[in-house]
């Protein structure tokens, strides 16, 4: 039982990490558009990345609601 809940948690962690890789890739392309000038995120990059994640998830939720309304 302990092992089973460990496996379930691990599978969820893997899904979240994999989705984080996709989100980072997409939001990097949208937000970090100029040449690289330092190894840290400046204020603009940082705000854009946080907003990018939030807005993508808004769109995600809206799509699922829209499709589930259509089906009824």
């Amino acid at each position: 039982a302990e092992l089973r809940s460990f496996i379930t948690n691990e599978q969820q962690r893997t899904r979240i990490q994999s989705q984080t890789h996709n989100l980072t890739d997409m939001c990097w392309k949208k937000c970090v558009t100029g040449p690289i000038k330092s190894g840290t995120l400046d204020k603009g990059d940082s705000t854009c990345l946080a907003n990018c994640v939030e807005r993508f998830l808004d769109v995600n939720i809206a799509t699922m609601k829209h499709l589930s309304n259509m089906r009824q």
Binding site: R55, A62, M64, L67
Partner: protein, 86 residues
Amino acid sequence: MDSESVKRAIIKQVLTESNMANARQLIEKINDNCFDKCIPKPGSSVSSSEQTCITQCMEKYMAAWNQVNSAYLRRIQQEVGNNGGL
């Protein structure tokens, strides 16, 4: 459970999984393409014009999917008719 019920249960299970996989792929593509098109610069909330764009984009993308699907099926039929295989 007799063998006929087992068969029906398997068929139902396969159809459910196949429809879910199809819906999942459609949702992913809609999210990627409509986010890209409607939210070029993500702000602190979804604006009302972005919201309108997203709703229209979803409907338009699904219309595009249906049209592509019909065109693809029509062509497959035609190729099979011509020479027995794509």
